[in-house]
């Protein structure tokens, strides 16, 4: 039988059935032990989880050769990998993705206290034996994945605005892939946080909710620029409660209370996958999906999401960089129509640019600063039409010089206004242009920082 390629046996490397590893001590005594994870790194390498200083560890440091037996979870066919130990990684993308995955495996096995990843041992795959046996028919191929990726991709390619793009992406994941609980989060690099800009399949949208870089599967996918996938519900606090605790931990002293926007995630996710959206080598944010079922996402779902996230990243980048229609001339001098009724009280805290409407928290940060500028201009001059360009030039808004994600911040503001339903809203009037609509008198109160 010809030697199979490593990529051809990826179903065996999903961790459904524990792999077994043989090593040999320098005195010639063989050793055999179970191993939690054998992870596909690339066509010539696998990584094995290093969890304990045990005999396997001692042997591999003295004699780098190992044999690993893996089993196909559908066909019951065995494969033997002949490996040579190269190095141990204790930080970075591979390590963090294995650590997250192990947290799921460990909780599933009731081993959460004993399974802790010390390192990712990287091995060269020297040869693979396909072992004789009768076996069962292989898993029916998930036919049409490429076609489904095409369908998703076509829908993204047709979009002309960020909001439309994100809705199309999450809609396509639901309709083409059956992924019913999904989110897009954008990275605020200076703040080291990610904020939700779109979600689908949750009771509340959670738009505006935040997670710290490095926390949970989402924060880790962004920090390490790597897909992170968990196939079982984890009890590891780092992954299960990171969202909520990062919100709590993220409120600095002296900030007005009531600023938490609840994270929309499932209460008991059994499978989660977070994939970075990357464009021009820069992480823009994270595409995330979860499920109440175990093993909901396999390596092919990951492949598809990585491809789709790359398209999404490029499209987001392009829409941010698009020429701004408002640049040519001054904004059209549309003046606000006269309004009447009970005034709305809007308070701005300069310390963190948080904005409250009649005492209810709306938004903070750059999006808060933008909203405050719009309201001030509107109050002073009656202006209603604005351009992205003037926001970029306004020193009070403090947008980063590069990667300002202005479109995403405007979308966040627009969504928060829609969801909180105050008598004001923002609507797009063209590329790089938008309008502030205010339906009642507004009282502005500045709280100096």
């Amino acid at each position: 039988m010809t030697a199979p390629l490593l990529s051809a046996i990826r179903p065996c490397l999903e961790g459904a059935i524990p792999a077994i590893m043989a090593t040999c001590a320098s005195d010639g005594t063989p050793n055999v032990a179970y191993i939690s994870q054998v992870v596909y790194v690339d066509e010539g390498h696998v990584a094995l989880s290093f969890q304990f200083f045990n005999k396997t560890r001692e042997n591999i440091l003295a004699n780098p050769y190992a044999s690993v037996l893996v089993l196909d979870p559908v066909s019951a066919r065995f494969y033997r990998l002949h490996l040579r130990y190269l190095r141990t990684e204790t930080a970075g993308a591979l390590f963090e993705s294995m650590k997250a995955r192990l947290a799921g495996i460990a909780s599933h096995n009731g081993m959460a206290d004993v399974f802790r990843l010390k390192g990712s041992d990287v091995y060269a795959v020297e040869h693979i034996d396909a072992i004789d046996g009768e076996g069962l028919p292989p898993a029916p191929g998930r036919s049409g994945l490429l076609h489904r990726l095409r369908q998703c991709s076509e829908r993204l390619a047709a979009c002309t605005g960020l909001d439309e793009l994100l809705q199309a992406a999450l809609g396509a994941l639901q309709e083409c892939m059956g992924m019913a609980h999904t989110m897009v989060l954008m990275l605020d690099a200076p703040a080291q946080r990610l904020y939700t800009v779109a979600s689908r399949g949750y009771a509340t949208s959670g738009v505006g909710s935040e997670i710290a870089l490095g926390h949970g599967v989402i924060g880790m996918a962004a920090r390490e620029n790597t897909p992170v996938r968990i196939s079982h519900m984890t009890h590891a606090a780092l992954y299960s409660h990171a969202m909520r605790s990062s919100l709590e931990a993220g409120t600095p002293d002296g900030e007005p209370p009531g600023m938490e926007i609840p994270y929309p995630g499932l209460p008991a996710p059994h499978s989660q996958i977070a994939v970075p959206m990357v464009a021009a080598g820069r992480v823009l944010g994270v595409l995330f999906a979860e499920s109440p079922r175990d093993l909901a996402f396999d390596f092919e779902d990951e492949d598809l999401l990585v491809a789709l996230a790359a398209h999404l990243g490029a499209a987001i980048d392009l829409l941010q960089a698009a020429p701004e229609g408002g640049e040519a001339g001054a904004p059209t001098a549309t003046l606000a129509p006269a309004v009447s009724g009970t005034p709305v009280r809007v308070r701005h805290y300069a310390a963190n640019d948080s904005v409250f409407i009649n005492g209810d928290y709306l938004i903070k940060g750059v999006a808060g600063a933008i909203f405050w500028k719009l309201l001030r201009d509107h109050a002073q001059t009656g202006r209603t039409d604005f351009t992205n360009r003037e926001l970029r030039l306004d020193p009070t808004i403090r947008l980063p010089d590069v990667a300002d994600n202005l479109e995403a911040r405007l979308l966040l503001l627009q969504r928060r206004l829609q969801e909180n339903n105050p008598p004001m809203r923002i609507e797009k009037t063209g590329r790089g242009r938008f309008r502030l609509c205010v339906a009642c008198p507004v009282l502005l109160e500045e709280q100096p920082g």
């Binding site: 077994i20 010639g28 055999v32 032990a33 019951a76 002949h82 081993m111 004789d132 046996g133 069962l136």
Partner: protein
């Protein structure tokens, strides 16, 4: 009167019942070889262990054992991960015969029960442990050392060493 056993009655009972079994050895340049067994048996006093292997699946392994590479064998209960490793400097190998058939059947039934508890059906277990008698050999050895290999910090701790 048998020599004091290396294995506790619980360990003997676990092996006797029929749980996952894997055999490893190594060649002259210390490259390891391994394969899953398709059956196992143990004497009542725990001093004689038999593991059934398929010759076609274990050529390198059988060659390495014959050449004096020694054996390391793990027994593990899939639902609990309770794991035991036995080692011996050598083993004898003989072809399996009709007399071994009841043991192989009993082992498969036990493994079907074990694997059902972790979500794999009887057909899967049967395919995984398929053992056409003409392809099966029986490996027999007397364990010299035994180790508790249940995942955790104590994995690898020796249980005891057999009396010389």
């Amino acid at each position: 009167m048998a020599a004091p056993s290396l294995l506790s009655p619980e360990h003997i009972a676990m092996v006797d019942r029929g749980v996952s079994v894997i055999v490893a050895s190594r060649d002259a340049v210390l490259r390891p070889s391994l394969m899953r067994g398709v059956g196992s048996a143990i004497s009542a006093d725990g001093t004689q262990v038999t593991v059934y292997l398929r010759r076609s699946q274990s050529r390198q392994l059988l060659q390495d054992i014959a050449a004096g590479g020694g054996v390391a064998v793990v027994f593990s209960e899939p639902p609990t991960h309770r794991t035991l490793q036995l080692k011996a400097p050598g083993a004898t190998v003989r072809p399996a015969g009709p007399d071994d058939r009841p043991l192989l059947r009993r082992y498969l039934a036990s493994m079907q029960h074990e694997l059902a508890q972790v979500g794999y059906g009887p057909d899967y277990a049967a395919a995984m442990l398929s053992a056409p008698l003409e392809d099966v050999v029986a490996l027999q050895f007397t364990p010299l050392t035994a180790f508790d290999q249940t995942p955790g910090a104590r994995a690898g701790a020796p249980l005891a060493t057999a009396a010389p």
